[in-house]
Every structure is written in C-alpha cells, then in structure tokens.
C-alpha cells in the first residue's frame, strides 16, 4: 500500500474510534449534575482554545498577523450586530485587504 493510502486509512480508523468512544462508553444513562455542569462549560473552553490557536498561532509557534486582525474585526461585527454571517464575511475580507497592502 502506498504511503498516501496508508495515511488515509489510518486517519479514517483513528478518527472513527475517537468519535465513537464518548457515545459508546457513556451508554444511555442518566448523568449526575456535576457531569452536566462540566459539559456545559466544555463548549466555551474548546471554542476559545480553537479561536486562540488559529488566530494567534501558526502551527507550533505564536504568531500575530493579518488573520488575527481579520478575526478581531469579525468578532467586533458579531458582538455589535449578533450576525454570524456578517462575521464570517468581514473576517476574510479584512484579512485579504491587509495582505494586499
């Protein structure tokens, strides 16, 4: 098997296992309140980490650039207007504009 095919098959298997683990392991049980309380806070924690690692870093090093400014502009639009669509239109536009300069 070629390297490409090996990597694709490996990634597919690993991804399937990771995504299946939570739903299978927890079954259909009622969950205690402390668990729900942690789960509610997973979304802000993960979302903030995704934003930070994508807007303020470049792979394994911290980096601020045109994309950081674009994301900040998009965030401002989302905050002021509440529109997700406007936010995802403004962010790439600002980023591309800054790179043109």
């Amino acid at each position: 098997m070629s390297t490409g095919a090996t990597v694709i098959a490996g990634c597919a298997l690993v991804t399937f296992a990771i995504k299946a683990a939570g739903p299978v392991a927890l079954g259909g049980r009622e969950l205690p309140i402390w668990f729900t309380s942690v789960v509610v806070l997973l979304a802000p924690a993960l979302l903030a980490a995704l934003v930070a690692t994508q807007a303020l870093a470049d792979g394994d090093r911290l980096a601020v650039g045109a994309d950081t400014a674009g994301v900040a502009a998009g965030g401002l639009v989302a905050w002021r207007t509440g529109s997700i669509v406007a936010c995802v239109l403004v962010a790439p536009a600002v980023t591309a504009g800054l790179r043109l300069l």
Partner: protein
C-alpha cells in the same frame, strides 16, 4: 481523504507532516492528536443520543466542531437534528469543495491571499460570543484560551486544544452545579 476522514484540521496536519518528509506513522499520530478534541465533544454529546452501542457509535461520527457548537443547548443537552443536519450540509460542501479544489484549484488563486484562514476562527469566535453569556462561561473561555496559548510552543499541534478542555472542570464547583440545577428547574424538567 475528505470523504472518509471528514476532519479538516486533522487532514491538514497529516498532509503537512507528509509534506515535511515525515512518515505515515507520524502523520497518523498528528491527525489523532488533532482529533482528540472530539473525545470531550463526544462525551458531552453522548447523553443526548439514543439506541444501542453500534448505532451510538455511528451517530458519534456526525460530530464536527461547527455542528457540535451550533447544536449545544444552554442546559448541556444537544439538539440532535441540528447536529446531524448541519453536519450533513458541511459534509456535502466539504467533499464537493475538495473535488473542485483538486480539479480547478489553480484557477481560484491562493486561499492565503483571500484571507480564508480567518474564516473558521471568526466563525468559532461568533459562536463563542453567543455561547458565553454567563460570567462563569466567559471565565472558562478565557482560561481555555490561555491554556491553549501557553501550550502552543511546547506541545504537538492539537494537544493544546485538548488540554484546554480541562478549563471546563470549573463546572465542579458548588456554585456552577447550583446554576445548572436552577436552569433545569426553570425549564420544568428536573433530572
């Protein structure tokens, strides 16, 4: 690859490692680390699922960042139809976009020039602003971002986001648990 792995950041990190001359094992390991964030997402989503283990495992495959975040309800449960629907739409456009890129990619110009790398973080930021209405949620978000940024230079790509999920352990405090109880009682369906 888009059709059967369907996890953008994992695909990109695997391809980046191959491009740097890394082996198949390293590429798969990077993809696994990148996708490890689906572990806590799957744990969060699990209570909203019904059915036997195999069916649950298959439903778990529908989880991607954006649909997971869109389907999350304030009380900790998930809108399953929202998650499946938005994942299906994302799947069609993701695979279709990959095909278009492979066939006519050269004609579209450099995605970097188009600023497309700012699109996903901006989308997640908008969801976060929508999500983090309580002071506690905002504090957890700040903590998660801080953990991720501190780890970026020292941990392999993907690990910072996974470790940042530990910020949600703030939910173990008494005041956080009481807030959940109150929101569930407000909806008239205490568990």
């Amino acid at each position: 690859m888009s059709a059967i792995v369907f996890a953008g950041s994992a695909q990109f990190s695997a391809v980046a490692i191959l491009a740097q001359g890394g082996g198949a094992g390293a590429a798969i390991a990077a993809a696994a680390l990148m996708n490890s964030r689906f572990l806590p997402m799957g744990v969060a989503f699990a209570p909203s699922l019904r059915g036997g283990p195999l069916w649950r495992a298959l439903q778990g495959q529908a989880v991607v960042d954006a649909s997971w975040a869109l389907a999350a309800r304030p009380d900790g449960s998930f809108d399953r139809m929202m998650l499946f629907g938005s994942s299906a739409a994302a799947y069609v456009t993701w695979v279709g976009g990959t095909a278009i890129g492979a066939l006519w990619g050269g004609a579209l110009g450099d995605p970097h020039d188009l600023g497309l790398d700012a699109l996903f973080p901006a989308f997640f930021l908008a969801l976060l602003l929508n999500e983090a209405r309580s002071g506690r949620a905002r504090g957890v978000a700040a903590l998660g971002a801080l953990i991720a940024l501190v780890l970026v230079p020292v941990a392999p790509v993907g690990v910072p986001v996974l470790v940042a999920s530990l910020a949600a352990l703030v939910g173990l405090t008494r005041s956080a648990r009481e807030a959940v109880l109150e929101s569930q009682e407000a909806e008239g369906e205490p568990r």
